[in-house]
Symmetry: C2
Subunit: 635 residues, 2 copies
């Protein structure tokens, strides 16, 4: 291994992190740094909502809201840039990020991607300018993950050329809907379209929910979800509809339309396939959640590393008190997580570029692959956020528990990220299904049973295509011999180990799902832990590869050397956490496995002097790091 | 394995859980059930503080506050009962538990255990009756874990027979002090005692901090710590003293006294030994935190299991939607955690009994052993709470994020438990040191370096006493052969595996610490992860043994059969989580290791029908489970 330079300038790392949208990132950063906003501390719910609404209005005067919209409607036509700007908002109060995401990403995005020209002309500018505030009303009380089975109905009445939107019972109430409790005047409502007495699956409808004075529209019942663990600047509410009539044109009719006489037509056959195609167009929200989870995690790590660099506790024999980041235990708490944040950042960057570059008429297989990657990285980013922010809080002790030191807000705000925009467990199953079916014919039915069924049908083919797997295993075996240090830090070995694990786990799942018994649910359920694992190790492999690609793009030799070591720490700490599997499957010997633990310790020691550089390279506007625990005398 | 009865009555389990203080538990439960209190949702900080203060006053009219005090002062003389009653308070708003703990446990406990008869006569009744509200002012801004090096001073002035209490700088400010920001009128202040120009180590002093009108006393600076992640019903503050004079009698003089002329005397030689003896008397607080963390975890699990039993998502082929607790993934999320809660409950119960039965003049070795066990179980209970409540929140999806469903409050309130009353990492080191030194001569210096030094000196002896270790290993090896199912469910094998792991890890730590290099800090630091691990696996062994003892006390055969299976799940999920270590050290073969995973899956399936029974057996007053997500139609 080449030795690390003593000192790397964080400004040589930032451009590598900033990547393709570096100019936009710099612009957003500069604007954020100039804003007077701070994280609200101890604000009551209503005051916080009002504050965030003010901030949203200020944001509406910038380029950010329109980035993702077509230029024809005053937008920037820059989908990647739009997602990146949401990611940057994740450095600040996450309520603002979510509120902006609801208005422009989900509500505006649904109009843009599910509607047609008349909808665009009528709504997009107003949505961009906050002249029309809206909601994305998909989730129902009874159906959060299984959105294909939503029970709100929109029944076409040919006599008046209207849809009647109706909530049949409590379970069909729209639930946790952002912008509903206070500010939204309209909602894109997802409902089962019924025409000529026939159900046509879930479609989206533009439904007014408040009158111009802000009162609930006739037939619309609005409830406030009340205080939440976090994100209290967002006004989540419940919506129920009592035979609310909207004109035929309220149907966002890109993927399915109803003629005045009630005749249904669609370019896509099959209700489920159509609905999941619709869902597939809406992945920007999921990508943005992953990105902003990453930003919040970077902020938490920056706070914790800076604190750990100044905080001292317990004296050495010479009387000098030890800086807590010098403790191995503390390094292990923060540095592998920091390396993972780097890895996920580069993977997110690749995802955003793929999202940006995938044409809306790209082949279905490419679209599904993108959706799978978006789902997987949302899972990885948000679970990493939950674990790492928790750790960062604990690493700052009592100081980390005070609201003024920002970590409690970060923890509480990001906590829902693992279960909204797709519950992580459900998303992992989706990722696994994509792998088993090789993305062919796999519309995104989220049902676990569909996973089992598809897998059982397709699995033989998929696995047959993976005969290359054997060669990888051989390579791994061979590399398991010989000098530990040389082998463990061999990037090729790390990559092959990740690839081999993915393939082997996948084959194992395939084997299990093939054993179709009389009860397909029982077959799926017995293998569920393997299915989830298959999703996870697939993502891990993508993430490591993205890190390797990013290193290849780094021009500065010092920065590059540092990134190489950070990548080693990501790879080896991932292997360490999963070493039981590698041992059980003969991929690591007991000795090599112990060497992995030692290598992680060594890397922690080597990277410790660079910890501050690594967090400073995120270049988070200082106002969002203004924690009193970092002021004055560290004590 | 004997098969499980189809249906076990939770009322046959509750008495086993309630144990020795069953009558008291029933009494507290009945009182709590009759109270009008609910968890506050969305309450502003000041309103929450006022509410908790009212509740504290109501509590003061019951037997609870006095349980731990001597009968001579109106107390109950029931130390175990006192700790159990705090544990029961953990079912309710944790702010009340902590506020009560500060007033009666920490403040009152310090007067009782560090003071002498004049202090008892003067203060204990007033403290019990809330006639005197007080603080426990130990932690300083600069010294949270390393409390031996507190920097507040109390300098004796023989001319006036007074101590001058002083905060030399910001780092010496008392920090996070409960009862300080709003209600406390006095504080037990820990300060370096100086007399005749000589420092005598940390002692405790009764210092008034407010005048009768509630204003800060002259020379006392009080700051409010402001909003926290949780526990906002507790008024934490900062205290600084500017040459505040208190009479000589303010010194709580059980372990060290100053004569009017300034002559210092103490029954204990050595400043450090004296201070850690003082600290050792104060372990009730630590035991109570562990117990109430356990209660909060039980509440979160009860909420999550009940939700998972009614919530359905995704349909089977027959159209019926699956109850989410029927998913293996969901079972794995909740049931091993539930088994661990049972295990920790029984271990906590043993600890409370040991605390109750250990005479204050018991041999030092016995006292140290008790302190170590209290530290270890505090660690295990609080980390289990953090992980499990997080999981319970996620397992309830969006509903789990709404404050009304109680999980956000539980998460936020318990979060600080891992770092207060002793940071868990520091406490684990203390546990490990106790093991290495066999509790001999090991006063509770918390410094990691002291750990290394003591270990290096004592380790040869300690390890020599453990030749029995070899025999255990043999037994484990032998049992590793043969039928998986038979072996894995053999309680004796499980116990031996836990014992052997503890001994082996300990020997490994000893080996590493013996390699004393020129820099003792470097030697300690390189082994820190092993040291922490030694603490952890020691606790795991104690916990499993406590579970086994509890099963032996269970008279009902059905309840006993169920507990046996829960104990299997605890043992095997613990082994599963740590199976990399067992594989690396030849304790499990690869095949046996995979069999452990299968066994955990099997146990999850077997215990799934009993999940509701297992949480209902905690017998938590229903008002503390009144989450709207459990009302009406589950959807």
């Amino acid at each position: 291994m080449p030795s690390l330079p003593a000192d790397v300038d964080p400004r040589t790392l930032t451009p590598v992190l900033d990547g393709r949208w570096a100019a936009l990132r710099a612009e957003v950063r500069a604007r954020m740094a100039a804003e007077p906003y701070r994280d609200p501390v101890g604000l009551a719910v209503e005051a916080h909502r009002a504050l965030v609404f003010d901030q949203l209005q200020a944001l509406a005067t910038t380029d950010v809201p329109g980035l993702g919209f077509d230029k024809a409607y005053g937008g920037g036509g820059d989908i990647g840039g739009s997602v990146v700007s949401f990611e940057m908002l994740g450095f600040g109060d996450l309520s603002l990020m979510v509120k902006a995401g609801v208005q422009w990403g989900l509500f505006g995005g649904a109009v843009q991607l599910l509607g047609t020209r008349p909808h665009h002309e009528r709504y997009l500018r107003r949505i961009k300018d906050l002249d029309l505030l809206g909601c994305f009303a998909m989730t129902e009380h009874g159906h959060g993950s299984d959105v294909q089975h939503l029970r709100t109905t929109a029944t076409y009445d040919p006599d008046t050329a209207e849809f009647v939107v109706h909530t049949p019972d409590r379970a069909a109430t729209k639930e946790y809907i952002g912008n509903a409790a206070r500010d939204g005047h309209a909602a894109v409502v997802f409902a089962q379209l019924i025409t000529h007495g026939e159900a046509r699956g879930v479609h989206a409808f533009m439904v007014p929910i408040r009158d111009p004075d802000g009162r609930a529209a006739p037939g619309v019942l609005i409830e406030d979800c009340g205080p939440k663990a976090g994100l209290n600047g967002v006004d989540n509410g419940r919506l129920a509809f009592d035979h609310v009539r909207v004109p035929r044109e309220a149907l966002l009719n890109r993927f399915g339309d109803v003629a005045p006489d009630g005749t249904y037509s669609s370019p896509i056959e099959g209700d489920a396939r159509r609905f999941f195609t619709m869902l597939g167009t809406l992945i920007r929200g999921r990508v943005s959640v992953g990105g902003s989870a990453g930003s919040a995690t970077k902020r938490a790590l920056t706070l914790a590393v800076r604190y750990a660099e100044r905080r001292r506790q317990f004296a050495k024999p010479d009387g000098e008190e030890v800086v807590i980041l010098d403790y191995l235990g503390h390094q292990r708490r923060l540095l592998p997580a920091l390396a993972t944040s780097y890895a996920l950042h580069f993977a997110q960057d690749e995802l955003v570029a793929a999202l940006h570059d995938t044409a809306s008429d790209a082949p279905q297989e490419e679209q599904r692959r993108l959706e799978s990657r978006a789902a997987g990285l949302k899972v990885a980013n948000t679970w990493h956020a939950t674990a790492t922010i928790q750790n960062a809080r604990e690493a700052c002790g009592g100081a980390g528990y005070l609201a003024e030191n920002l970590l409690p807000g970060l923890k509480a705000d990001t906590d829902v990220f693992t279960t909204f925009e797709g519950d992580n467990t459900v998303l992992l199953q989706l990722v696994a299904k994509g792998l088993l079916t090789d993305y062919k014919d796999a519309f995104q039915n989220l049902s676990p049973l569909a996973t089992a069924r598809f897998a059982a049908e397709r699995v033989l083919g998929a696995v047959a295509e993976r005969t290359a797997a054997r060669k990888v295993v051989d390579a791994v075996d061979r590399l398991t011999e010989g000098d530990d240090r040389e082998a463990l830090f061999d990037r090729d070995w790390q990559l092959k180990l990740f690839q081999d694990r993915e393939q082997h786990v996948l084959e194992g799942v395939a084997d299990r799902l093939r054993k179709a018994g009389p009860d397909p649910f029982a077959v799926f359920n017995a293998a569920q832990d393997h299915v989830l694992r298959a999703g996870r190790v697939h993502i891990d492999r993508l993430v490591l590869e993205a890190f390797v690609h990013a290193i290849g793009r780094c021009p500065d030799p010092g920065a590059k050397a540092l990134l190489e070591r950070v990548c080693d720490l990501y790879a080896l700490s991932n292997i360490e956490a999963d070493r039981a599997w590698f041992l059980e499957h003969g991929r690591l010997s007991a000795g090599r496995s112990k060497a992995v633990i030692s290598a992680v310790n060594t890397l922690c020691a080597e990277l410790r002097p660079h910890a501050r550089t690594l967090v400073d390279a995120f270049d988070i506007p200082e106002q969002y790091l203004a924690a009193p625990m970092l002021d004055g005398d560290a004590g």
